[in-house]
């Protein structure tokens, strides 16, 4: 394998991927228990992308995300406690319970947030890149986007703005080949979405989204190019969901053989294997990491459960300002 990342990076990648896996798997249970309301779009199966991308970014960079945003949020280093608290609509949550799953943001740390509007993260991300340019900063902004969003006008308009202004912007299209139940083949004649970037003069790549290391390397290169003034860059990462669109979607329309194909290329397994194979991490160490992350999630649930909700008085004060 060409220039493997450092052990530190590999461990970070595995930890992040696994943390997302646990968050989603356990989060779904909380949802099924009725503790979480509204929409919950699991990131299961796509962990490799957020994980690889964020590992390649620096502090001071920005990310913008989608309705399927837990993974990006975690990979960007969010506090799982505050995430769970948000899902449980508690005052300690990232949005104090005002936002929920589709709106978790951490603006103080450069996470512009999940978004309930498909495609909206792209202009917002380009805007953050523009703000960086105005400030004279070399910060890079990544927008995580989707195959569905690539058919939306915001894709063309905002990527084109990033291009003519040479912004430090990376558009990561997570092509999981479905928009709810609609297959990508029904939504476009050319499923290779990166070509749309090329057509407007944007350097564009395709990568196996289930390979966190490949994603990491490509993003690292892209970020370097951006900081050297050669942005924006588009990365199409092919992937597949492990389940339906949201928790309540059985996803029966997903062919079993394709699901099996992608599950055999599970990004969390790959991250774990990399740590084992490249760095020779012993099983005990893997177990320890996994145990630690599982405990972290339990603690987060405990924390969230013990947190309070916004009071009527606090709410009235909030409203008064509108």
């Amino acid at each position: 394998m060409q220039n493997a990342p450092s052990r530190e990076i590999l461990e970070k990648i595995f930890r992040t991927a696994y943390r997302i896996r646990v968050f989603e798997t356990e989060g779904i249970k909380l949802y099924r228990q009725g503790l979480i309301r509204g929409y919950f779009h699991p990131y299961l199966g796509q962990e490799g992308i957020a994980t690889g991308v964020c590992a390649a970014l620096n502090e001071g960079d920005y990310v913008a995300s989608t309705h399927r945003g837990h993974g990006h949020c975690i990979a960007w280093g969010a506090d799982v406690k505050r995430m769970v608290a948000e899902l449980l609509q508690k005052e300690t949550g990232y949005c104090r319970g005002y936002g929920g799953s589709m709106h978790i943001a951490d603006i103080h740390r450069g996470n512009l947030g999940a978004n309930g509007i498909v495609g909206a993260g792209t202009p917002l991300g380009v805007g953050a890149a523009l703000a960086a340019q105005i400030r004279g900063s070399d910060a890079v902004t990544v927008t995580f986007s989707t195959d569905g969003a690539s058919n939306n006008g915001t894709f063309l308009e905002s990527l084109n703005l990033a291009a003519i202004w040479n912004l430090n912007f990376i558009l990561v299209i997570e092509n999981n080949q479905y928009a709810v139940s609609t297959r990508i083949e029904e939504s476009t004649r050319d499923v290779d979405l990166y070509k749309r970037g090329t057509s407007i003069g944007v350097e564009s790549h395709q990568v196996d989204g289930n390979d966190p290391l490949a994603v990491y390397r490509l993003t690292q290169e892209a970020a370097e190019k951006c900081r050297a003034g050669k942005g924006p860059i588009l990365i199409e990462a092919k992937t597949f969901r492990h389940m339906g669109h949201h928790v309540n979607d059985p996803g029966k329309y997903m062919p079993e053989d394709r699901l099996a194909y992608y599950k055999a290329r599970d990004p969390v397994d790959r991250a774990r294997n990399a740590l084992v194979e490249i760095c020779g991490a012993p099983q005990a160490e893997i177990d320890a990491i996994e145990g630690e992350i599982a405990a972290e999630f339990s603690d987060a649930v405990e924390f969230a459960r013990n947190s309070r909700e916004i009071t009527a008085a606090e709410f009235r004060q909030f409203v008064a300002d509108y």
Binding site: G38, Y98, G148, N152, A179
Partner: protein, 330 residues
């Protein structure tokens, strides 16, 4: 059921007129997120029932173009919030084409969508935005509250020639009520008295109708007799029905789920005070959503839109304004 009534209307009109077709996200094989279009693909095929990519501006625009060219499209937009992506096509094209062509061009376009809060879907999936369409001349705005109206109004929508914003409510799809079989048409501009009463005129629409009726029943137990008027279509508005009721009761409460500021309730109030000023024995009470985006937290969400008790309190205030306003007592 409301959603079945809608399906019946679409089905009957597709049967009746080969130029009626429907497009939207996941409406074909999946039958739509609210199951309104279930079975239509099997019956009418993929030419007339088709899924779209996530491209609201495009699908609304294409629908408007198809309507201008003489077809009768129904475009389903999953959430009214997403219609914001297609506002240019609605406001600058669909609504204006008729006037801009001096009357020659018609746009028999129906956009079906749903709004309203509930269930913690948060700020971008909970809005009640009828006021935006209401303000744009050239659009019809339809907001059925019961299954029979849903059917009759949708059938009518599919037979007339102006762009229609057909606004459903996410909480009404499973609501029950009698639905006449076959040829049941409800014309635009004809309101309906959902409960007659003599003490107060309560005007509401969409999901605020069942809520207001509950409030009215509770009030009836206290001897307060509320008349619940459902305009059913906001544009055109059945002013006559409203003014007749006001002339009888001399007191008005308007209940809307949308935020208070700049809502349709304000406009109806402005009309009543303009045309029936001397009929009013008390200020018109408006019960409406708070002036904020809808929060995720369920308690806050509930606090953000009118509840039964808010309606009850408003009716009482307008029956006894002197208890609430110093000036009224003089």
């Amino acid at each position: 059921m409301y959603r079945e009534a809608l399906r019946e209307a679409i089905d009957e009109e597709m049967e009746r007129n080969k130029l009626v077709f429907i497009i939207g996200e996941g409406i074909a094989e999946r039958g739509g997120s609210y199951k309104v279009t279930e079975g239509l693909l099997a019956k009418y095929g993929s030419l007339r029932v088709r899924d779209t990519p996530i491209a609201e501006a495009g699908m609304i625009g294409v629908g408007v173009g198809a309507a201008i060219a003489g077809a009768r499209p129904i475009v389903e937009i999953l959430y009214i919030d997403f219609a914001m992506l297609g506002m240019d096509m609605i406001v600058n094209q669909a609504a204006k084409f008729r006037l801009m062509t001096g009357g020659d061009g018609r746009v028999p376009f129906v956009m079906r969508t749903q709004g309203g809060a509930g269930g913690g879907v948060a700020a971008q999936h909970s809005q009640s935005l009828e006021a935006l369409f209401y303000h744009i001349p050239g659009l019809k705005v339809v907001m059925p509250s019961v299954p029979a109206d849903a059917k009759g109004l949708l059938k009518y929508a599919l037979r007339q020639d102006d762009p229609v914003m057909f606004l459903e409510h996410k909480h009404l799809y499973m609501s029950k009520g009698p639905v006449p079989d076959g040829e049941h048409i409800v014309e635009f501009g004809k309101g309906d008295i959902k409960r007659s009463g003599k003490d107060v005129t309560l005007i509401a629409w969409s999901n605020m109708i069942p809520r207001s009726l509950e409030a009215a029943e509770a009030l009836a137990k206290e001897g307060i007799d509320v008349e619940v008027v459902d305009p059913r279509t906001l544009v055109p508005l059945d002013k006559e029905l409203i003014l007749t009721s006001v002339a009888k009761t001399n007191r008005v409460v308007i209940v809307q789920e949308a935020v208070r500021r700049g809502g349709v309730a304000s406009d109806i109030a402005s009309i009543i005070q303009e045309e029936a000023f001397y009929d009013l024995d008390a200020p018109i009470e408006i019960v409406a959503g708070l002036n904020i985006p809808i929060p995720f937290n369920l308690e806050l969400e509930k606090a953000s839109v009118p509840q039964k008790d808010d309606v009850i309190a408003a009716v009482k205030r307008c029956l006894h304004p002197e208890q609430f306003t110093a000036r009224a007592a003089n």
